[in-house]
């Protein structure tokens, strides 16, 4: 069923049944993906999915329901359930349907040329990269997981207050994990990227990066357990920022789930620390012109010279805090209610290169991989203790890889212990927390390191 026909019928029926304001959120996604294993495409995936979410004001309360069956026979289900859901809401804040912002930026984040790339080109590229990885060094054993994908999604927001918004996004992503073996020691390393420009990818460079990430781990050794100066390589610093990004959500602050309560206008990090949210970043995977409630997106300085300037707000949290929405309402899909999340969120770059930062360390550790973020980090308490991979630095030089270790500390202490901010700002593929996160490498004065 055509989405506009569906919307008109649904709103008409809703009005008859007592809904005052109504909104329809529609999403349509197409995706192609494949996996490569030992010289062959061994897995191939193609999909096209759509779904809608309905919300409406019923007896003064907002009720929600969604469906993936966009047909006339779903309308009763949506309206009935939205009514039931509205009926049990205790929320006194008074959620509203939004009539729209004054203006929206006229930008498109859809990369037309990416659409022109054929499926066979993508598969060929994957096969070429795998071949180069396997040929890179005789210690390379295999790639244990190699995935390439292209996705495009469009979303529409239509409401009974006359707001009608549309946008479209696409991107290409790849992930490869490489297994290497030497003298009985097995190590893995991975490479991940996400881009709108398929033709900018270079198979040689990717193969080298991926293979080296694993090979460099060989010959790892134990070092003593203690507090060391630590460099978080750019991708890992971005991962750390992603893990704790929810502390900047006004929703979490208001619900007592973030330690940033009452901290606006105060210093929360070192003076060199800048954290920005830029929804208009041309290469940004979370770029957008409007948020999940239809509020116009805008740039936001979150931390300036170490001082917390603003939290991220949607309309509900803004109302509670008697401020304006910052355009950070978030809906992960039509299946989700509205929360708060960043768009493209990053730590501003400094001046030193990673090599210069390494050369500044007498004895320390360089972290190049972090895992267990979903369990080993607690954004409520700010504490983390994470499994890590990395290198031992002695006299300003990388000496060797280190056995699996943990680094432990506190996020709020960490942003006060940054000694040097690198010039190598890089974004990482979204995972875990919603948003697209970037950071330069960070040198932190000390973190507790424990080695297996």
């Amino acid at each position: 069923m055509e989405i506009f026909d569906f919307q008109k019928q649904l709103f008409a029926l809703g009005e008859q049944q007592g809904f005052v304001d109504m909104e329809l959120y529609y999403e349509h996604r197409e995706k192609f993906g494949c996996r490569i294993f030992e010289g062959e495409v061994d897995n191939y995936e193609s999909s096209e999915v759509a779904g809608i979410s309905f919300r409406g004001l019923y007896n003064g309360k907002m009720g929600y329901a969604f469906t993936e069956k966009i047909s006339e026979d779903s309308m009763d289900y949506l309206l009935e359930n939205a009514k039931d859901n509205a009926g049990i809401i205790d929320d006194e804040e008074g959620e509203e349907i939004f009539a729209g912002s004054e203006s929206y930026r006229d930008l498109s984040f859809y990369a037309g040329p990416l659409d022109q790339v054929t499926i066979s080109e993508i598969m060929q590229f994957g096969l070429e990269v795998e071949k180069k990885i396997l040929a890179f060094d005789k210690r390379v054993k295999t790639t244990n997981y190699f995935m390439l994908s292209r996705s495009s999604e469009e979303r529409q927001l239509i409401n009974s207050k006359g707001l009608q918004l549309f946008d479209k996004q696409n991107y290409f992503g790849m992930y490869v994990s490489v297994v290497v073996e030497d003298a009985g020691q097995v190590k893995t390393g991975s490479y991940e990227c996400i881009t709108k420009d398929f033709h900018s990818l270079n198979a040689d460079e990717i193969a080298e990066k991926a293979a080296k990430e694993a090979l460099d781990q060989l010959g790892s050794r134990s070092i003593s357990n203690k507090n060391y100066p630590v460099i978080l390589r750019n991708d890992m610093a971005a991962t750390m920022l992603q893990t704790f990004s929810q502390v900047f959500s006004a929703e979490n602050v208001q619900k007592g789930r973030s330690r940033l309560k009452d901290r606006i206008g105060t210093k929360i990090g070192v003076s060199a620390l800048q954290i920005n949210d830029d929804p208009f970043l041309p290469e940004g995977i979370f770029s957008r012109t409007f948020d999940g409630e239809g509020v116009a997106a805008k740039e936001l300085q979150v931390v300036k010279d170490g001082q917390l300037l603003s939290l991220l707000h949607n309309r509900k949290t803004a109302k509670k805090a008697q401020t304006e929405s910052t355009g950070h309402a978030y809906k992960s899909s039509y299946k989700d209610s509205i929360s708060v999340s960043p768009s493209n969120f990053y730590i501003g770059a400094g001046e030193k290169s990673l090599d210069e930062m390494i050369s500044m360390i007498h004895v320390g550790v360089l972290i190049t991989d972090l895992t267990g973020l979903h369990s080993g980090a607690n954004s409520v308490s700010g504490q983390f203790s994470l499994a890590a991979k990395g290198f031992y630095i002695v006299d300003g030089k990388v000496r060797s890889a280190v056995n699996q270790m943990t680094i432990a500390g506190d996020f709020f202490e960490l942003i006060n212990a940054i000694e040097v901010i690198g010039n190598d700002l890089e974004f990482v593929s979204p995972s875990m927390a919603p948003g697209y996160f970037g950071s330069p490498s960070l040198l932190v004065s000390n973190l507790s390191v424990t080695v297996d």
């Binding site: 897995n43 993936e68 424990t450």
Partner: protein
């Protein structure tokens, strides 16, 4: 859900380019989620997922297409898309579909869709009141309620044709305790393959108080020491350690491609004699249980390790081909948006003979991990990590101060050799497991056990 004649047609289309196996998976799932915050219902969401996944094999190659367009045209288009990954002429025709029916072991007493939302909320409010009232330091309590009824239809070119319904209910309680600038959280999230009878029958006094007690206890916890210690892991959700350390390495997903430390080692001693490790999807009404897996294969009790000897793996249809072994009823997927692969159901270490109090009394210095957070593993190296939610130091055979911020790391095959005491108090805990085929409900379980030496990473630094 979809006419049999259309399924026939779709399977035919999927095999039209030379595939040697085709499968259709139809899913119609109704979900309700309610969030209670500070005693108020803040959020209530209902929805219906509806989609179809079509899979085609040729030898070890697999193509998958999925769509929410369940019209005949939409399905044929998806089948064409999957078939397009193979180029050739048809080699086989689908077998005639024969509908199989069965009685589920997992009987549901009260279908959640027939229960008023207000009745669901009333249980949540009780849980809130108990958790909030536990201690004055409890600043915030969130209660999450979830129910779902997943109707599936599975049909394949071998003539298999069946429908199944999976009903699940879960309630999660998160308490936050605060003291000055310190904030700690505690969590408990029981779930079952049951209807609303599970929610109404929950021992809220226990679960809600435990969530709050953990948060309050952690406020006074000392930073965890770092280093290598004996570690005692309590029963129930403590089983997450071997879920990460061994379970994932026994899934065909990594075994078939020779990327697991357990590949090619059937019959070998891979663990301490005290370890018997079992995956059992048939336990009535457990959170990780299913009658048939997502390929329509009946679930089984799979003994993976018996008295330290490797006995078996968890195998799905595609990897069964690679491995030359039979499927084990272990193919699972989050939804029609994922091709199924080998996954765990209810996985646990079988009970041993030690009494829990004796395990603690026999430990001179070490760590007692009462409740675990989650963890993860690199299947190729079997290096794992997991977080401890509530832990204590053990000194001279007695529990000492609570400690926080401990993460345990190690290597699966090495750690499972170091299990030196296994308790007699087996229990299971509910969790969600994320992997290739998405996020699925699984139980982890074990009795209390001790690992003679594990690396503990804490904030305090070396002792």
């Amino acid at each position: 859900m979809i006419a049999q004649s259309v399924i026939d047609e779709v399977l035919g289309e999927a095999l039209s380019t030379g595939g040697d196996f085709a499968e259709v998976f139809v899913e119609d799932r109704y979900t309700n989620r309610i969030v209670l915050q500070s005693g108020n219902v803040e959020n209530s969401l209902s929805g219906r997922d509806f989609g179809v996944g079509i899979r085609v094999f040729r030898n070890f190659f697999s193509a998958y297409a999925y769509t929410t367009d369940a019209s005949r045209e939409g399905l044929l288009k998806a089948a064409k898309n999957a078939a397009a990954a193979i180029s050739g002429a048809a080699v086989i025709q689908p077998q005639p579909l024969v509908k199989e029916s069965f009685t589920s072991t997992h009987q549901i007493q009260i279908s959640p869709s027939l229960v008023d939302k207000a009745r669901k909320v009333s249980v949540m409010k009780n849980a809130y009141a108990i958790a909030k009232g536990f201690h004055e330091a409890i600043q915030q309590v969130s209660v999450f309620y979830l129910d779902e009824e997943q109707n599936v239809l599975i049909a394949n070119s071998e003539g298999r044709y069946m429908e199944d319904k999976r009903t699940r209910s879960r309630m999660m309680i998160q308490s936050i305790a605060a003291d000055g600038n310190k904030m700690e959280s505690g969590f408990y999230g029981p779930g079952a393959h049951k209807g609303f009878e599970f929610i109404e029958g929950l021992n809220l006094e226990h679960y809600a108080k435990e969530a709050s007690r953990i948060a309050v206890t952690m406020l006074s916890a000392q930073p965890s020491p770092s280093g290598k210690f004996p570690v005692i892991i309590d029963n129930e959700f403590g089983g997450v350690i071997f879920h990460e350390a061994c379970g994932h390495g026994l899934e065909a997903t990594s075994v078939a491609k020779n990327n697991s430390a357990f590949s090619g080692r059937l019959g070998e001693k891979v663990a301490s004699d005290l370890v018997t490790y079992i995956d059992d999807g048939t336990i009535p009404n457990e959170w990780g249980s299913i009658q048939v897996d997502d390929e329509g294969e009946p679930t089984k009790r799979n003994v993976l390790i018996e008295n330290g000897i490797l006995k078996g793996y968890l195998i799905d249809k595609l990897n069964a081909r690679r491995m030359g072994m039979n499927p084990t009823g272990s193919a699972r997927r989050q939804s029609y948006r994922f091709a199924p692969t080998s996954r765990m159901t209810n996985t646990f270490i079988a009970p041993g003979k030690s009494r829990p109090e004796d395990i603690i009394a026999n430990t001179e210095y070490g760590i007692y991990a009462k409740y675990m957070g989650g963890g993860s593993v690199d299947p190729a190296t079997a290096d794992f990590n997991f977080a401890v939610m509530e832990a204590y130091l053990v000194k001279n055979g007695k529990l000492d101060t609570p400690i926080k911020g401990a993460t345990l790391i190690g290597n699966g095959p090495k750690t499972i050799q170091l299990v030196d005491m296994v308790g007699n108090n087996l229990a299971h805990g509910a969790g969600m497991c994320g992997s290739l085929s998405g996020s699925i409900p699984v139980n982890v379980g074990q009795p209390m056990l001790r690992v003679s030496e594990m690396t503990v990473g804490g904030t305090k630094g070396a002792e």
